[in-house]
Amino acid sequence: MKEPLLQVQDIRMVFRNKKQEFAAVDGLSFQVERGEILGIVGESGSGKTMASLSIMGLLPEQGAIASGSIKYQGRELVGLSDAEMCKIRGKEISMIFQEPIMSLDQVFTVGNQLMEGILTHEKMSREEAQKRALEMLNLVGIPSPERVFHSYPFELSGGMCQRVMIAIALSCNPTLLIADEPTTALDVTVQAQIMDLLKKSRDKFNIGIILITHDLDVVKDMADRIIVMYGGNMMESATREQLFSNPAHPYTRGLLRAIPRLDTGDERLFNIEGTVPDIRNMPAGCHFCTRCWNAQERCKTQRPQLVEIESGHFVACHLAAEGRKEGEAV
């Protein structure tokens, strides 16, 4: 059987201090193929960003992957040395971040930053690298590439900076792109442009994309497959059609009714009471049990396993696994 582009198997990512460790991500598994867009949805503290940093090997100092495996084209990334990881990062797997203006270096020109990646990973002369850089700027829809090439990031708008980030990320022909909240800091009309660009890049280069966001509507437009995370755990994993037509986990169902949408009428928004528990203080059982309106005794003590309720649709909930959804109070 062909190896998937990226296979993440049951990773547990922890923060350690001298005495204790707390899991920020626990039991996350998924795979991404070329040409596929995987959406990871979750609120702040759900562990979605730590999951992406684990793949890139960019975890903060106190963080570490305690167990599990991350295989890129069959090659294990967990435990790879920094030098080896550097060869993959930016070349094979690249990433774009939430704050486009902050994630570019303000004291170097756009061209400089674009060429840095190309010269690091490709055997090219400076002239060739510059040509490639200008091509990339053109490709991401920047109106006057020569001018932007010589500009500093602070001279550009947020949308332009994100285009530059995408140009940098795509400049070495990666096969996997991780986009961590790429449009959260941008306006809706610019968000539409950037999402359009990501889709076009996927089609043109046949790359896999992991799109991390808190916005369910964004993944609904973009993703082929969606993972819903909460408190570091995978709550639900399904194709886009399955998730939106038949959401199974109470958290997903609550979230879908808590967002004011364009087709929401005057009815009251659904209240998910309470707040996300601190990672140092997660319940022993299901992490959502403190806010779940269906929670039972076993939810507080037993962690629910992922169960396949229809082909390709997994959910981690004791009740949903038994096909029960009743008792939902609004």
């Binding site: 809706v188 442009q193 369910l216 808590a258 364009l262 087709d263 929401t264 998910i272 707040t275």
Partner: protein, 322 residues
């Protein structure tokens, strides 16, 4: 017809910008450029637009936090600058960032009690009673009164900010992006809370947001801003059912899922918003408008009626359009 609670006429606010450290001030940011609007008692007036369109500046000018350059702001028919102190306390604000808008050195009790102390004439027991009542109203447990803001999550801090805005029985509250810093599940809690207290206390809101789903949910009427001007005003339902201005159409179609929900075609705008220092002559939107004609670049369009209570500033819509 009854007199509107708030009336704004041809309001302008320009901020000077300096080019370089040593040159003298040149040019102005046209933050609010001739805005007129009316807000009726008891309604929620939504204000949407992208960043830099002037919606926050407008709200600050209305409340007098920033001085206006020209134009009138009438509250119950009276210029807001001439309102007495106790009347001014009826106009309040809830801020965007709950992490920056609360004094970290003050306890929750003191934050909410401050308006009473400033107004004077309240005994300690009266203040205590009022503050605890407000904390109940916004869903904060009374035990939190002696804690400091850093001990709370974003959603709870926003509740503190709302309680502070509700002190001294206000009538009119400007909510400047009150939920944009919050997670979606918390956002729903705060939106529900704002709606509940509006019903209970008969408040009037001006609700500012860049999130069109949120604005639709909470507003009765909505104004769309672009580069310092209001380009369309309408009942909330009409705006989403039949957006008249090309910018509104593009804005709505840019929302993920809009094509499906609203049955409209996707209009992908080119380029960025022009600088508010040198806004385009004629229609502000003409540089990005897919339907722009010659006159759009020279003649500024007037507000025209396109339906009942529905106005848009575009040459191509309304009664006089071909």
């Amino acid at each position: 017809m009854s007199e509107p609670l708030l009336e704004v006429r041809n309001l302008k606010k320009y901020f000077p910008v300096q080019h370089g450290m040593f040159s003298s001030g040149k040019g102005f940011v046209h933050a609010v450029d001739g805005v007129s609007l009316t807000v009726e008692k008891g309604e929620t007036f939504g204000l949407v637009g992208e960043s830099g369109c002037g919606k926050s500046s407008l709200s600050r000018v209305i409340l007098g936090l920033v001085k206006r350059d020209s134009g009138d702001i009438l509250y119950k028919g009276q210029d807001v600058r001439t309102l007495s102190r106790s009347e001014r306390a009826k106009l309040r604000m809830v801020f965007q960032n709950p992490f920056a808008s609360l004094n970290p050195k003050e306890r929750v009790f003191d934050i909410i009690a401050e308006p009473y102390r400033i107004a004077g004439g309240f005994s300690h027991t009266q203040i205590q009673e009022e503050v605890l009542k407000l904390m109940d109203l916004v869903g904060l447990s009374r035990g939190y009164a002696t804690r400091y803001p850093h001990e709370f999550s974003g959603g709870q801090r926003q509740r503190i900010g709302i309680a502070r805005a509700l002190a001294m029985n206000p009538e009119f509250i400007v909510c400047d992006e009150p939920v944009s810093a919050l997670d979606v599940s918390i956002q729903a809690q705060i939106l529900n809370l704002l709606r509940d207290i509006q019903k209970e206390l008969g408040l009037t809101y001006v609700f500012i947001s860049h999130n069109l789903g949120v604005v639709k949910y909470i507003s009765d009427r909505i104004a769309v801003m672009y580069l310092g001007k209001i380009i369309e005003v309408s009942e909330a339902k009409d705006l989403y059912a039949s957006p008249a201005h090309p910018y509104t159409q593009a804005l709505l179609s840019a929302i993920p899922g809009a094509v499906e929900y609203l049955h409209i075609d996707r209009v992908l705008l080119q380029g960025d918003i022009p600088s508010p220092v040198n806004p385009p002559a004629g229609c502000r939107f003409c540089t990005r408008c897919p339907y722009a004609q010659e006159r759009c670049a020279t003649v500024e369009p007037e507000m025209r009626q396109v339906g009942e209570g529905h106005y848009a500033a575009c040459h191509l819509v309304g009664k006089e359009a071909e």
